[in-house]
Symmetry: C2
Subunit: 410 residues, 2 copies
């Protein structure tokens, strides 16, 4: 008898009929003798509808109130799914973030889970019920509703799986696994049967939308086996697990791209120690994550520095006023923005032991005439910032160049 968490995304619960499918799948798993915890996202489109309502009211809605609204999407989906299970002859009960008690920090709209109490879930399971937990939501220490950010239901699922010691966390989605790259861009993309947490982490953080990055971090930290699979078939998907020898032999596991970043270019800052710390300290205080950072001596004056960095497009509107305020205070003459960029990356555990992978990536880009605006690397990843118009060209060239189109059975 296993303890299994099944997470269903927005398209998997996107209609009454699809919820019935979810119900049948959960009941079938329970009938095999497993204890089942179902985590649901909001019905597809619902979160956008709710955000739209808030934005009709005010351009920049209060984050606390935004979460109160957004959390209702999963609340409704959880209760409807519980009803669907009951209607198919099963027993189920919905549980919300404050009922399970998923305690988060106080960062509204992008809260992080601190602790999860398992007792409510266990007592529900012990009654023979399927526990249907609303994803994406928690409460802070004051009892305010918080949400975990886009894709936060993955995080809910993996965190709950870790908290209750589940044997597996199944992530049901509208694709049947993790691919070597986006099949919509590259028809020769292939499904990866097994991938390490580390690789998945890089792919997730680079915009492969299959799993939310924090969910992979938590899975890695607690060793939760994650199975990404299709909610519309019974085909095995991709297992995300700890690394082993077979996984380490693959130099490049996948090619990812991320169109969600914007580039900010602060021209002519005072070139003194602490200037950059002040700029990025201010960003951190506002809970805005910065990704790539490049500092150059300014073209305009040798005692000044140009600083370029990228951040999420969704944070840009909010960040602009104080970026400009801080930049001005630090002596900058101008701040420029560019949203027409993409970050293309290659990821693979094997990079750690293979030299020349980055150089090969740059050669492939050069051969296609693509100008690289910025580079960042990690142990198992190389990323290049390029003009957005080259996205498809770059992805296909890298996918072919690193031989991913050939069957990589592992």
């Amino acid at each position: 008898m296993a303890l299994v968490v099944q997470k269903f995304g927005g398209t998997s619960v996107g209609s009454i009929d699809r919820m019935r499918n979810v119900a049948r799948r959960a009941i079938a798993a329970q009938k095999k003798g497993d204890k089942i915890v179902v985590i649901v996202s909001a019905m597809s489109g619902e979160t956008n509808r709710l955000l739209g309502l808030a934005h009709q009211m005010v351009a920049v809605p209060d984050a606390r109130e935004m979460d109160v609204i957004a959390a209702t999407g999963e609340q409704v989906a959880a209760a409807l799914t519980a009803m669907a299970i009951q209607n198919e002859g099963g027993q189920a009960r919905s549980l919300l973030g404050h009922q399970v008690k998923i305690l988060t920090d106080g960062a509204f709209t992008k809260a992080r889970i601190k602790t999860i109490e398992g007792s409510k879930i266990f007592s529900t399971l012990e009654q023979g019920q399927i526990a249907v937990v609303a994803g994406f939501q928690g409460v802070n220490e004051h009892g305010d509703i918080t949400t975990l950010g886009r894709g936060g239901s993955d995080t809910s699922a993996v965190a709950i799986a870790a908290a209750i010691g589940a044997d597996a966390c199944e992530i049901y989605t509208d694709v049947d696994g993790v691919y070597t790259t986006d099949p919509n861009i590259c028809p020769s993309a292939r499904k990866i049967p097994r991938i390490s947490y580390e690789e998945m982490l890089e792919l997730a953080s680079l915009g492969a939308k299959v799993l939310q990055i924090r969910s992979v971090e938590i899975a890695m930290k607690y060793g939760v086996p994650v199975h990404v699979r299709s909610s519309f078939s019974d085909v095995e998907g991709t297992w995300v697990t700890g690394e082993d020898k077979a996984l380490e032999d693959v130099v490049v596991a996948g090619v990812a791209y991320d169109k969600n970043e914007a580039r900010v270019h602060c021209v002519g800052l005072n070139d003194k120690p602490g200037v950059v710390a002040e700029l990025f300290g201010a960003m951190a205080d506002k809970n805005i994550s910065v990704d790539m950072i490049i500092q150059n001596v300014s073209k305009e004056s040798h005692d000044r520095a140009d600083v370029t960095f990228t951040l999420a497009k969704t944070d840009l509107l909010r960040a602009k006023p104080f970026i400009e305020e801080v930049a001005k205070r630090l002596g900058s003459q101008e701040v420029r923005y560019d949203e027409d960029i993409v970050k293309v990356s290659i990821v693979g555990l094997g990079m750690r032991s293979h030299a020349g992978i980055a150089a090969k990536m740059f050669r492939i880009m050069a051969a296609e005439g693509i100008n690289i605006q910025a580079i960042s690397t990690s142990e198992i990843k190389v990323s290049c910032l390029i003009h957005a118009k080259y996205t498809e060209l770059a992805v296909r060239a890298l996918h072919d160049g690193f031989g991913l189109a050939k069957a990589v059975e592992r």
Copy 2:
């Protein structure tokens, strides 16, 4: 400085623009120096949309899960209203049933409030915030979400007003007060400036949709002055207060009708002691309220009794199976149902000291050729069950017959 509860119904928060109106009204009241607690219903249409979703899933949804879904309507409205207040330059925070802590019994979809903690509301007010509380909802002792039944936001408002010792509870609605009867039926209906709790209670229980009955009970119990008024104007509405001499002089304050009841006729029950107790005990066990009850010797057999009673049409579907089961067990040959009925009533404090009011009512009905199927009376009310087709005729005849069309200044 007064402490004022302002409750806004579904039409008053039915659109983004109307919520802005609500916000301006609350802020204006706060600027006069009062502390303001706003209670909101779901945006008009939203509760029906949510119930519709549940009924798409299953014909008779689980009541616990139904409440989880239904409560989101007020949750969204409360957060949007808080945003509206912020957008108009005020400070506001939304509070949900489980946050305020509105503790109810466990009767899902029709829960009753047991206690309300005032501390969260007070601490919010002390920060200079307008507290925007989601109406209609609470939690039971297990932390499950419960709802208070249709119109439950009135109850939330008055109960909160009582709990925090508010100076007044303003009920903003789409009509500008309580009328002598339904103006849609009777053009000569007049707004009543002041009415007693007792009269309002009878009117509310008889289908005058302005205030939910339990809200009036609570207002009476705790002496909360209630001001029913229009959310679209600043005109004084109707004050519902304790009785005084002026109110007692009015013999008939209003004429009400209620189309929401169905008649059940159990033919030929065993005429033994305890039979009726068993029938209605079974109803009470299922939490179904019965209104008028008439027991006759059966026309068909003298050792048998016919029992007729009325209940809410909304309970009929659920009640039918066990009414028939119990009736059969008690020897009944047949159970008949009639949904084509209406209950017409006259209400007035002055009835207590005036004889012949009921007789006058029956004469008025007879003069119009209206057959009375059942009668029930209280100290300050007389009700007649008649065929639904006579509704308008009966209401107008009674309104005129008791001289309500003439200005009743009080």
